[in-house]
């Protein structure tokens, strides 16, 4: 009894202290009242047309840093993620995903199906808006792809894997779209160099706005809307690649274990 009282008291004290820090203490502001010089430098240059050699033309400092200021780092992080997916595909290379096709009568009950149908358009709209606003608001390509990849996951759980196959979303198609996304990222990396070669000037790899000695800059505006040069391209292509990369994984991981094991044993016995 005494121990339970102690636990209850400590929980109450934790909640009260957290509430005090979050509200009466003025939020977490006073703990970090100074903005560091490095952060100041980034915040004052991310969207400043008057500093054309330093700006990324994006109000969202995180996206500007991730895809512009330290773009190569992000590129190789993305490569690591896709190497992991390629590993999974290599393990499942001889597994036929269409074995065990049983029609569309599988899945959860009608209540869950209807709710999922309501959810799907919301999910798609949110994911696309995160991707297209990645250079304006928190989010970006990877987060949008992760949000979109919830959809094949939901469809597999609620309607069964064969429903996706009937929608023609097979491993091959998902791989093709993933490759389109990755090719788009690669093309965007070399886009400034191509433009520079045509015009006979210098350019850097993954360049967004113009730099010293490299006067090639991708357009920051279309009409009146801010697109931040290469950032929107990176976000959209990363969105495609992540969505379908995750879809491939979910499609492979949802194959029944027995089928996978049978087919893998069959492969071993042939050799």
């Amino acid at each position: 009894m005494k121990k339970e009282l102690l636990i209850a008291m400590s929980m109450v004290i934790t909640v009260v202290v957290m509430a005090y820090i979050a509200t009466l203490g003025g939020g977490l502001g006073p703990l970090f009242s100074d903005v560091r010089p490095l952060a100041k430098a980034f915040l004052s240059t991310t969207l400043d047309p008057e500093k054309p050699l330093f700006t990324a033309m994006s109000p969202e400092a995180v996206t500007a840093i991730v895809w512009d200021y330290r773009g190569l780092d992000t590129l190789f992080e993305t490569a690591v993620f896709y190497l992991a997916i390629i590993g999974a595909i290599a393990i499942y290379r001889d597994v036929n995903e269409k074995v065990g096709l049983k029609g569309s009568g599988l899945g959860l009950s009608k209540i869950v199906r209807v709710v999922t149908k309501v959810l799907i358009p919301i999910n798609i709209a949110i994911a696309i808006s995160i991707a297209l606003h990645g250079h304006l608001t928190p989010g970006g390509g990877f987060q949008a792809g992760a949000a979109m990849a919830v959809m094949p996951m939901l469809l597999i759980v609620v309607f069964s894997r064969y429903f996706l196959l009937e929608l023609k979303l097979t491993k091959g198609l998902a791989l093709a779209f993933r490759s389109i996304g990755l090719t788009g990222i690669a093309l965007t990396v070399f886009l400034p160099i191509i433009i520079a070669l045509v015009n006979g000037v210098n350019a850097y790899i993954m360049q967004n706005q113009m730099k010293v000695n490299a006067p090639v800059g991708l357009p920051a505006f279309i009409g009146n809307s801010l697109i931040s040069g290469s950032l929107i391209l990176y976000n959209v292509f990363e969105f495609l690649a992540v969505t379908f990369g995750f879809s491939v994984l979910f499609l492979l991981l949802s194959i029944e274990e027995d089928i996978v094991k049978d087919q893998m044993r069959g492969e071993v016995s042939e050799h």
Binding site: L108, S109, I111, V112, V115, T116, V118, L119, I122
Partner: protein, 122 residues
């Protein structure tokens, strides 16, 4: 005046939410089997998340000093409330159905199990 009423009603909904959360937590700890514990969890979700979100939306709509942004805050709260309203029952339904169908959760102590009397989940 109407703003003041909205803030007061919103605060009352927040209070109801806190009470429902407490009841749900007690039920999760003290109920005897999976299905009634699931019931307690749903009390915590609908009572403890849906009502407070509506309350938060009302408070936001009533707080004029927030300016135009109060419509964004309140709208987000209403959309979240709607999503929770349709998702939480579907999720708990799927959980309960799966648990009953796979016989992982034993219904004991049992007063009545109409699903089993009808021949189980098909």
């Amino acid at each position: 005046m109407i703003e003041y009423v909205m803030v007061v009603v919103g605060g009352a909904l927040l209070l109801i939410g806190a009470v429902c959360d407490l009841i749900g937590a007690l039920g999760m700890n003290r109920f005897p089997n999976f299905f009634v514990r699931l019931h307690a969890a749903t009390v915590g979700v609908i009572g403890g998340a849906f009502y407070p979100l509506i309350g938060a939306a009302l408070i936001a709509f009533g707080s004029e000093y927030l300016g135009t942004y109060r419509w964004f805050v309140g709208g987000c709260a209403l959309v979240s409330a709607f999503l929770i309203l349709i998702l939480a029952p579907a999720g708990s339904h799927a959980l309960a159905r799966a648990a009953h169908k796979s016989k992982t959760a034993v219904v004991t102590p049992k007063v009545a199990d109409h699903l089993e009397e009808d021949g189980g989940v098909k």
